[in-house]
Symmetry: C2
Subunit: 218 residues, 2 copies
């Protein structure tokens, strides 16, 4: 079993704790706000009031021996940077740190954070992308040029036609990996599969081809 | 061309504005903090100082005629709920609202927000999931039982073997849709494709089978 320490019980830190506990992991939560620690001490394995910038307090908590330490300090960039430095010097094996800005992220990387997350920035990009591109519900960028995307079919141009009739692969240059209709998913759909308005198509291919399909299904 | 209004220039709201502007869209940004509006007025098409809870101010800004209104008010739940109500009554076609908690999200849904996002909560879940499951880099939940995932191969058990030799599809019950090695992606890999340590596999199938592959590649 792995061990986890989470510093900072803001919205992000709390969500990490809750998700880890739901998967029956052991979690040490640390925050300098007494009220927060008291209200969440029954949620986690152990909750401690401490200042993440206090090197002795962090050493006493034996943070160097945890498998993962998550530093979820956002608005207070100084505390985030100092806490990352302290935990790194204590020898923690894997550090995940939340960053506010690109500069903050670069500082954390230099200090030795293994993975940096930007919750608000990433979600802002996703929301903007979804608003501009008509029907892309979700996407994973596999590389600079390839994308996996879930696209909703929002018009009836495709209605009732099979993949063979649509000549889907040649027309769009994309691999259709699944068709979802309500909560039902058909993986690796055959050429006889029929597409309907309201379906969600999971496709993979060049980003420019994904955008072309997005236009065609709007 | 679509029109966008973003209320609240916190980390999330600002990221939405920046991403929309990068895609050459027109953005009206609204915040009640004068300093923030002044510092970002050159970033967006138009920036206005206003209180989102002031119905007359929101009407004067003609928010009912924008294609998308994003309500990026987090900590101040009352302002978020009231602003959503006002914008909905002004007739906005599509409202995206940021929520802090599940209860906050439910209130926004009842009032008429078309789409609700939880930036910190979602990222917290993703980070926790990634820490627990050894090598799942990213995933899209297609339904309750099907997942699309990017899994890194972290051991040499697969090294130099072809998909046919591994009997990949029958052994794992998953469809392998792409193999990524460095920035190079091979979509719809043939049975002769070879897997190496360090590759990233994009697979689709039942979530329980994805977790089995994750264990096998650790
Ligand atoms: N030096 C510190 N030591 C321990 N805990 C701290 C320290 N500084 C801040 N915190 C705690 O960390 C938590 C998150 O802080 P902060 O407000 O900086 O992040 P945030 O980015 O607003 O969080 P989120 O967006 O996830 O809600 C708060 O609960 C705060 O009490
Ligand atoms: N009534 C209001 N009218 C207009 N702007 C507001 C109002 N209340 C708050 N804001 C602005 O909205 C922005 C975001 O507010 P808030 O602090 O509630 O969100 P947040 O969840 O911390 O943001 P984020 O996590 O995205 O940084 C701030 O810039 C604040 O000035």
């Amino acid at each position: 079993k792995q061990t986890f320490a989470v510093i900072g019980l803001g919205r992000f830190g709390l969500s990490v704790c809750q998700s880890l506990i739901e998967e029956e992991q052991e979690v040490l939560a640390i925050d300098n706000d007494e009220e927060l620690v008291t209200s969440y001490k029954d949620l986690v394995t152990q909750a401690v009031i401490a200042d993440a910038q206090d090197e002795d307090a962090m050493r006493d908590l034996d943070l160097g021996n945890f498998d993962h330490v998550v530093i979820a300090l956002g608005q207070n960039i100084q505390a985030s940077v100092l806490a990352t430095l302290i935990v790194k010097e204590l020898g923690a094996k894997h550090i995940v740190a939340k960053a506010e800005t690109t500069m903050h992220g670069r500082a954390l990387e230099k200090i030795g954070a293994d993975s940096i997350v930007f919750p608000e920035r990433d979600m802002g990009q996703r929301v903007a992308h979804r608003l501009i591109s008509h029907n892309i519900l979700n996407y994973l960028a596999l590389s600079d040029t390839y994308t996996l995307a879930e696209i909703r079919v929002a018009n009836d141009k495709f209605n009732g036609k099979t993949l063979a009739e649509l000549n889907f692969h040649d027309q769009f240059g994309l691999m259709l990996v699944a068709i979802a209709r309500n909560n039902d998913v058909q993986v690796s759909p055959p050429a006889t599969a029929i597409i309907q308005e309201g379906d969600t198509l999971s496709v993979i291919g060049k980003t420019v081809d994904v955008d072309r399909l997005d236009e065609a299904t709007s």
